[in-house]
């Protein structure tokens, strides 16, 4: 690798992408689809976080909530209101689906901020599966609910007739680009932040730059906390928007 070649000369060791390597937890064998890897471990942690927050935290069913219970209720109310406001009242049935995505992404993002951790949502494979899942679900719901007239989503009846075929082409392209942007946005944001932190950390090898490096890592870390939440929010709200298009395709 180019970065490793550079490090020979300067004494700096750059391995900003090593944190994203998928490796088996036990032994050194090849990564098969069923192998228990660091992906498994950190996804299990995010499941544990969800359980801790939404099941253990609310187990007392208090009228006056404790801190953990009010966080759980806040998450519930936040996503529920988002589904209701963005996708409409008839989309409330899909609320558990969106809640699942939101809680998984938010927990995985924040767990990724733990030092030495593995950020599952920084992998395009993970985000692409979720985005494709959303894309396929939404398309199926659209055709199931509206049949052929779901295609009127692409036929903008408010535009002048000569423009409509061109707009339809653009709409169709943008429709199929949705899962790509949906997945790359999340993975890209998570990967970039973590990689930048690692690069700054590598610079700390030079004693003179070290204080500045620590300062920069602190700043980026703060930014990453913000990004972790915002990206989960963006993913969930875009899912709601796509769902709204499927439920109400007529502009």
């Amino acid at each position: 690798m180019a970065s490793e070649a550079n490090s020979e000369g300067t004494g700096l060791v750059f391995h900003p992408m090593d944190q994203f390597i998928v490796k088996p937890l036990f032994g050194d064998g090849p990564v098969m689809w069923y192998t228990v890897t660091n992906v498994t471990l950190w996804m299990a942690f995010s499941v544990a976080a969800v359980v801790l927050l939404l099941v253990v935290g609310t187990s007392r069913r208090a009228i006056v909530p404790s801190r953990s219970q009010s966080i759980g209720e806040l998450a519930y109310g936040f996503v529920y209101k988002m589904v209701e406001d963005v996708a409409g009242k008839d989309a409330v049935g899909y609320f558990p689906y969106i809640m699942t995505l939101f809680m998984f992404i938010v927990c995985a993002n924040f767990l990724g901020l733990v030092p030495m951790s593995f950020t599952t949502t920084s992998h395009i494979a993970v985000t692409a599966v979720m985005a494709m899942g959303v894309f396929l679900t939404v398309t199926v719901i659209g055709f199931f609910k509206h049949g052929f007239s779901f295609l009127s989503l692409f036929w903008i009846s408010s535009a002048p007739l000569p423009l409509r075929p061109i707009l339809a082409l653009i709409e169709i392209i943008s429709y199929f680009v949705r899962p790509v942007s949906h997945s790359i946005r999340l993975a890209g944001n998570m990967m970039a932040g973590h990689a930048v932190i690692k690069v700054f950390a590598a610079f700390a090898g030079i004693a003179v730059i070290a204080p500045l490096s620590v300062l920069a890592i602190t700043a980026i870390y703060a930014l990453e906390i913000l990004v972790s939440f915002i990206q989960a929010y963006v993913f969930a709200i875009l899912t709601c928007v796509y769902l709204k298009d499927a439920l109400h395709p007529h502009h």
Partner: protein, 175 residues
């Protein structure tokens, strides 16, 4: 660590572990497992429970608000009865004061009239006494005048003619 770095060099050959397709199957499999587990936990346990808690809270809050409304109405009613009692008491006190005043006035009037009557009686009595005294005094004056006149006549060497003197004195006194 050494084994890890050799592993890293091996798998990170494309530069980005994200584009290492050999790990995709693994990630996708575990992701699907994770999402299904979270979905089942949310739909079976977490979401119904939170919805219950929220509904319960909303209900208890609306109940409390209703109870508060009830209590407020009761307080207003109590205030009204209190105000009414206060007004009644005030009216009664006014009546009592008025009665006492009238009674006192009547008593005062009878006492004054009684005193007036007594005073009038006393005046009449006094006048009678004065009249008596005056008449007595006139008689005395006549007597004195007669005796004086007789004495003067005697002293002048005249005869004791009491009848004449009496006549003269009475006429003189009348005139």
């Amino acid at each position: 660590m050494a084994s890890n770095s050799s592993q890293a060099a091996e798998t990170a050959s494309p530069g980005m572990p994200q584009l290492d397709f050999s790990s995709f199957g693994n990630q996708i499999f575990w992701l699907v497992v994770t999402l299904v587990v979270i979905y089942v936990i949310l739909t079976r346990v977490a979401l119904p429970r939170i919805a219950d808690v929220l509904a319960e809270r909303r209900e208890s809050i609306s109940n409390d608000i209703a109870a508060a409304e009830d209590l407020k109405l009761k307080a207003v009613a109590a205030e009204e009865t209190y105000d009414k009692a206060l007004a009644d008491a005030r009216a009664e006190a006014g009546n009592i004061v008025e009665g006492a005043k009238a009674e006192m006035k009547a008593e005062l009037a009878t006492a004054i009239s009684k005193a007036d009557a007594e005073i009038a009686e006393k005046i009449v009595e006094g006048e009678k006494i004065i009249q008596e005294i005056r008449s007595n005094a006139l008689e005395s004056v006549e007597e004195v005048a007669k005796s004086t006149a007789t004495a003067i006549i005697e002293a002048l060497g005249g005869k004791d003619d009491s009848k004449f003197v009496d006549k003269a004195v009475s006429s003189e006194m009348k005139g």
